[in-house]
């Protein structure tokens, strides 16, 4: 996963942190002189995709009974598809329009629909921040020895757990409300160390699993680590396709969903989208494999202990440094996530106190963090997030590339001065409803449903735009006559 971005975070962050006013080009294309080079993107993608949630996601693959081939081949393929999505979906639009997602959406959908999108984004950010609090709270459990949740737990496991989560949540929320700048700098400082700590988890995990020679890796991987057996109780069995689609769609909202327009609009060249490979293959390949290995070691030492708890997992491998890594990974990613959730909700009522909103969001995230169901089903939550936000990416894609080629107008809301483009709104709502129906009725699993959902949104937006623009043109033509 990632610590992600929402709107209009960049400029607000700069203002609220008390920096010199810096033009973030929120409502204009990024000019030539403000564009960024390749190195910036490699660093940014790598830093953002080694997050606290990687420590949860890796073990959950193993809990789903994945085999070595399905896991590694699935990750290689899925991450490649994610990189290609950034390169061929997001970057070409970002480097042509050079607008933030927010502004691009506002031009197409209108202010009110964008507000609705931000609300959905804010809710998702809040839940994700809760998952990161959970990750960090498990580090406290190593020392305070309170009962921590099992893989199948859905409710808080006791007063110790609740107290640890609330303490973590209160600390994270206060820091997010007060000191975004400090933690953002700390996150950048910690990034190289954190990447190497994940590598250390992997190397130690491999040795603990009995690997003594690199040449024996595949044998150990297939026979001892990812054996492809039955999944843990209550978990779905994962195949190559599950892993591939999860790796591809885990950041669906960012690439195909176009949230990274805001980031890649600064790129000098569209092919800088390829730098997402640094984040994918370090964070969503190496880190997931390493975290998965830690869980394999736990199952080897105590097959009855199926709990996925990053704190104990990391402590067993790397001692106190491992615990610090869990705390830092959770903290540095929960902080911007809370901050961005606050910004998303603040956009509903411009002028309201971001400080207060961030604290309220932090409280809500802490409450969700108490319930382990969210974290223990993180794979489902991430897939759900992508499914809900992806349709807006499809709307932008069609509006930017297809409508002008069919003789229709782009940026309908801006051209007509409307605050709600019902064609986009309806395409979004119908697509999400159809995807949910497919999942709830058992016709498709949540990991796969976003692909047909994308095509459905495209078709719906095309058809509804045709209808809308014809209806809009008719009175205009009548008036002109």
């Amino acid at each position: 996963m990632t610590s992600c971005r929402t709107e209009p975070q960049q400029a607000a962050r700069t203002r609220e942190a008390g920096h010199e006013p810096v033009n973030e080009y929120e409502r204009e294309p990024v000019p030539e002189h403000a564009r960024l080079g390749l190195k910036n993107y490699i660093g940014q993608f790598t830093g953002e995709h080694v997050a606290g949630t990687e420590l949860m996601i890796g073990p959950l693959f193993l809990a789903a009974g994945v085999s070595a081939f399905d896991f590694i081949a699935g990750l290689l393929t899925g991450n490649l598809l994610a990189v290609l999505s950034w390169t061929f979906f997001t970057a070409p639009i970002a480097t042509r329009a050079r607008l933030t997602l927010y502004y691009q959406l506002e031009k197409i959908c209108g202010r009110k629909l964008v507000t609705l999108y931000n609300t959905a984004n804010g809710v998702m950010f809040t839940v994700l921040a809760g998952a990161m609090m959970t990750v960090s709270a498990t580090a406290l459990g190593v020392y305070f020895k309170f009962a921590m949740p099992e893989l199948s737990d859905t409710l808080p496991t006791g007063i110790g757990w609740v107290a640890a989560v609330l303490a973590t949540g209160a600390l994270f929320s206060m820091v997010a409300a007060f000191g975004y700048r400090f933690v953002s700098r700390f996150a950048n400082l910690a990034a190289p160390w954190m990447v190497l700590m994940f590598l250390a988890f992997g190397i130690i995990g491999l040795r603990e699993m009995g690997l003594t020679r690199v040449s024996d890796f595949w044998n150990t991987a297939t026979q001892t680590i990812w054996t492809g057996g039955a999944p843990q109780a209550g978990k779905l069995k994962f195949t190559f396709w599950h892993v591939m689609f999860f790796a591809w769609f885990c950041n669906l909202a960012w690439h195909i969903g176009m949230a990274d327009l805001s980031v890649l609009r600064f790129a000098r060249k569209p092919w800088y989208g390829l730098t997402s490979a640094a984040g994918m293959y370090v964070g969503h390949f190496m880190a997931w494999i390493a975290a998965s290995l830690l869980y394999a070691v736990q199952l080897k030492q105590d097959p009855g202990n199926t709990a996925v708890l990053p704190g104990p997992l990391a402590y067993r491998a790397c001692g106190i440094a491992g615990l610090l890594c869990v705390l830092a990974a959770g903290w540095t990613t929960a902080n911007p996530t809370l901050y961005r959730a606050g910004l998303a909700f603040q956009s509903l009522k411009p002028g309201s106190s971001r400080f207060k909103i961030t604290l309220i969001v932090g409280l809500a995230a802490s409450v969700t963090a108490m319930f382990p169901i969210v974290t223990m089903r993180l794979l489902d939550f991430v897939a759900l997030w992508g499914m809900i936000l992806m349709p807006m990416g499809a709307v932008i894609f069609i509006d930017f590339w297809v409508l002008p080629r069919l003789g229709m107008g782009s940026n309908f809301a801006e051209v007509t001065g409307r605050s709600f483009n019902w064609a986009a709104g309806l395409a979004w709502a119908l697509s999400v409803a159809a995807c949910l129906w497919m999942v709830l009725s058992g016709r498709a699993q949540i990991y796969f449903v976003s692909l047909p959902g994308w095509f459905l949104t495209c078709l719906l937006y095309l058809a509804l735009s045709g209808l809308q623009q014809r209806r809009h043109a008719a009175p205009a033509a009548k008036g002109a006559a």
Binding site: R185, L189, W193, L199, I203, R207, C318, G319
Partner: protein, 56 residues
């Protein structure tokens, strides 16, 4: 000062890789690796702020 800090940071990061590799090669027990990783962590956070640009 910056150069010394950079060297210390580099040693810290190199240790974070070398120590687990030493464990993998059966050259170091896990307890020593864990202590070494903690030392590397402290060294990194003590030295990197002197030279690393963290404002993005």
């Amino acid at each position: 000062m910056k150069t010394i800090a950079k060297i210390i940071s580099f040693i810290a990061l190199a240790s974070a890789v070398a120590l687990p590799l030493a464990f993998f090669a059966d050259r170091l027990p896990l307890a020593s690796v864990q202590s070494g990783l903690l030392a590397a962590t402290i060294l990194w956070f003590a030295s990197a702020p002197f030279w690393m640009e963290t404002r993005r």
